[in-house]
Symmetry: C2
Subunit: 128 residues, 2 copies
């Protein structure tokens, strides 16, 4: 069999075949060669899928990933803008996560007197 079948690619990349087809439709993957109608991939596809995996894990949407892939080796203005925006988003995410931790640690304490005049008393009524 010339080239890898989609199932094999999926196994190696840790992806469902449906996700691979989805990426192809979304324009993240090149149209592969076909043998009797079936996709046949070169092993290089695995590197590309790994890049996609990284971009997705980095919080890129599918269309951002597309921009990212097309421009990664020759950074364009478009690419630079994307990267900068993403850096800012990531910083915001980290800051938010820190705030969450602080809130969780303090049990979301409010300063109100014991129980009944507190929002929590209302919450109990809501959920109870």
């Amino acid at each position: 069999m010339r080239g890898l079948a989609i199932g094999e690619v999926g196994r190696r990349a840790g992806l469902a075949t449906s996700a691979i087809r989805y990426y192809e439709r979304a324009g993240l993957l090149p149209k592969p060669a076909r043998a009797s109608g079936q996709r046949r991939y070169e092993p290089e596809i695995l590197g590309l899928l790994e890049m996609i995996r990284m971009a997705r894990a980095a919080g890129f949407t599918i269309s951002e990933t597309r921009i990212f892939l097309t421009g990664a080796d020759k950074p364009s203005a478009r690419w630079q803008a994307l990267a900068q925006r993403k850096r800012a988003e990531i910083d915001a995410t980290i800051a938010k996560a820190r705030r969450m931790k602080a809130a969780l640690k303090s049990n979301f304490r409010c300063g109100c007197a014991e129980t009944d005049d507190c929002a929590r008393a209302i919450a109990r009524k809501a959920c109870g």
Copy 2:
């Protein structure tokens, strides 16, 4: 007018009225008093909505928020478990965000020779 109408609550809490009704249906808010069929809220609802906002911002799902609200003042085992799990998730989120930043900073450099044997060359073909 006795009590706050839903629109006023929405304005003060910075929420759409549809979201408030959604929270009520989801069991996060108590069923409010009614005047001629219309919801009338006590000002205390704003404190509760603020707690919900914090929990949501902290990455709690709606049903987690429900657990959180009902148990926040008397931490139960269920609540403790939720808090612990969330702390772990938050740590993972932060770690991932750091990795993203590193990846972005390095432009996702791969080590391959100039261009054509690289996944990026394939990516260009895909998106080109």
